[in-house]
Symmetry: C2
Subunit: 115 residues, 2 copies
DNA sequence: TCTATAGTTAAGCAAATGCTTAACCAATCA
DNA sequence: TGATTGGTTAAGCATTTGCTTAACTATAGA
């Protein structure tokens, strides 16, 4: 079991590459084989394999080999970790703005009381 | 103007480091100076500066210098790009599951009609 | 059985990353 | 004015990343 921070490291790192995101985009429409995932890229097979390994290590995809073809699929649950973190940051920020607004309103009210 | 993919590269790459995420977490509670952001880390000042540069280049933060202190703040809008991409992937996946379910239901209905 | 297909491993390399130390500038403050 | 504080730049270095080619294994089909 990986701690939360290490999991986010792997997830965001995996998402930081356009080829890997393209693979995820393809996989979000349904499972695909390795060579099918490789097709859109002008990249050697080993390079594709390495990208897939990064995705799988991050838990963003799973795969199983049957015969000589390996079928990959997305693991949408893994997107949660990333989404939750982003949502939490936004929430904190909104909260802070709310407090700021409340404070400014309070100041204004005091001011009107004194004027 | 950066294209969408390059923006996502920078954003996810910036989020992939625990120190940078910690800085963003701090900033999501309100603005802070460089040295304030540096305090929690056992890391040289230049290292901190570099992390901040990565965040700012990705558009995740902004900063202004007044006197000799530079004040940084989060730019929550930049989180949108990342969140939107994740949401789109999830949506595509859900859609696919829906279609799959519809198809299976259809199969089952046909089967009952023939049985 | 021969051969093409699908994937895998190993080794190597250039560029990017994350850090360091050393040297420095500029705004405060005693 | 001289020292301290806050930040910045430059140079260097170890590690990681993203890719390559070459060599190899295993399954499927003619």
């Amino acid at each position: 079991m990986l701690n939360q921070s290490a999991a986010l490291d792997l997830t965001f790192q995996a998402l930081a590459d356009p080829a890997r995101r393209a693979m995820l985009e393809r996989l979000s429409t349904g499972p695909a084989s390795v060579s099918e995932l490789a097709r859109p890229f002008s990249m050697s097979m080993p390079a594709v394999l390495q990208h897939l390994a990064v995705l799988e290590t991050a838990g963003l995809t799973r795969s199983r080999k049957s015969g000589r073809v390996r079928t990959c699929e997305i693991n949408p649950q893994a997107l949660n970790t990333a989404q939750d973190w982003l949502a939490a940051r936004r929430a904190e920020w909104e909260q802070r703005l709310d407090r700021l607004e409340a404070y400014l309103t309070e100041l204004q009210n005091k001011d009107q009381g004194n004027g």
